[in-house]
Amino acid sequence: MNQQCPTIRELLAAYTFGTLESAEKHRVESHLQSCADCRAQLADYQMIGNGLAHALPPHLPPPRLRARLIAQLARRETKPQPFINWSRFAIAFALLALLILNASSWWQINTLRQQQTALEHSLKSNQAALAIIASPNTRILDIRSDYANGSLALNADLKSGVLLVRGLTPLEADRVYQAWLIKPDGKRVSGGIFRAEGDLTTFVIVSPEPLANFIGVGITVEPAGGSVAPTSPRLFGINF
């Protein structure tokens, strides 16, 4: 026992209970390193401290608490997994994977949008075709050629016609079919561009002038986007 011991022992209980202020705590710890007597007293105090947690007349928790704990466990299902300390490379790999996933998602969304636009266009086209075909003033002309067979429904009142063709060959992405309305003097006016759609291709030809101004329609293959005037031989045509 040394001169400091009485002062330290005034602090030992609070040190044991963890309620000592920081400066005094360091003072006690410094003293304990060199004083076996105080360490022995501390050990006894710690036993008392541990005992105080147990030394209470018991109160039983309500049964609902046990039920609540079981319910909590059921909600959690599995024991939480320990934290994974990812390396920098693993994080970089994960970010790259996320980037690829995002790019893939963007591509899929873009494709879906294009498909949606095409479907909307096709729906409008079909609705227009149905309106033309259902009209009482519509004339139906047969198309018979080596290239394709089908019909052309013409309606002078609506200044439009519907081309219904079977067996049209799909083209490369940079080529389209183009319809040409033919004037009596041989001049061609574009009636629009279209692509082959499976077994039956439906295309609505919209005329900028009354259909009576034209004597027929011809179909050519043109670069994507269409041409101002035909740049290739006529595949097939119909005289009005």
Partner: protein, 190 residues
């Protein structure tokens, strides 16, 4: 070291065995709840702390090291810290009521050891036998987590008086509780 029957349970708990947690709850919930209730003096808060302690046990059972003390002491240390944190966060101080000697202790049935239970009972009665001024500062320090200066403020007493009363009370407990102790097993080996 932990009580031998608890070792396999703790191993099962570490493997994620829910039944092991329920078994430990059945063995120790009354201790956890009692300590939380003593600190917080509020049934609802004590229930919440008890549930929280067992969920922490579920998550962190692997942090228990038997070489550093008994399982029940570890569990009750977690309980005390959690309850004192709650007390501080609520910024309230339970009333300094006088606790009469609780006869319910006679009804205790300890599933582990009658000897251990008897020792806690001895300590309880030793605390109750202390002069009221010594008992009060021990209870404020341990069950309310108060520092010397906080107790001095609470009891309107000089700091030196608080320190002396705390030391005298602890030395009295040391004498009374340990008089037969040296021949007994470590009290913390629950």
């Amino acid at each position: 070291m932990s009580h031998p029957p608890d070792d396999p349970l703790l191993n099962q708990l570490a493997q994620g065995d829910e039944q092991a947690l329920i078994t430990l709850y059945d063995s120790y919930a009354h201790r956890v709840y009692t300590l939380a209730l003593r600190i917080l003096n509020n049934v609802q808060s004590a229930e919440e702390i008890t549930q929280d302690v067992f969920l922490r046990l579920w998550k962190h059972s692997h942090t228990y090291q038997s070489a550093r003390g008994s399982f029940s002491t570890w569990l009750l240390t977690i309980t005390r810290n959690a309850a004192l944190d709650r007390l501080r966060s609520e910024q309230r101080r339970p009333p300094l009521d006088e606790h009469d000697v609780d006869e319910r202790w006679e009804q205790i049935v300890d599933t582990h050891s009658q000897t251990d239970e008897a020792r806690w009972r001895e300590l309880y009665f030793a605390v109750q036998a202390l002069p009221i001024e010594q008992r009060r500062v021990i209870e404020l320090a341990y069950y309310h987590g108060m520092s010397h200066s906080q107790m001095a403020e609470e009891l309107h007493l000089p700091l030196g008086t608080i320190k002396t009363r705390l030391r005298l009370g602890m030395e009295q407990l040391r004498r009374d509780w340990f008089k037969d102790e040296k021949s007994k097993t470590d009290a913390t080996n629950v």
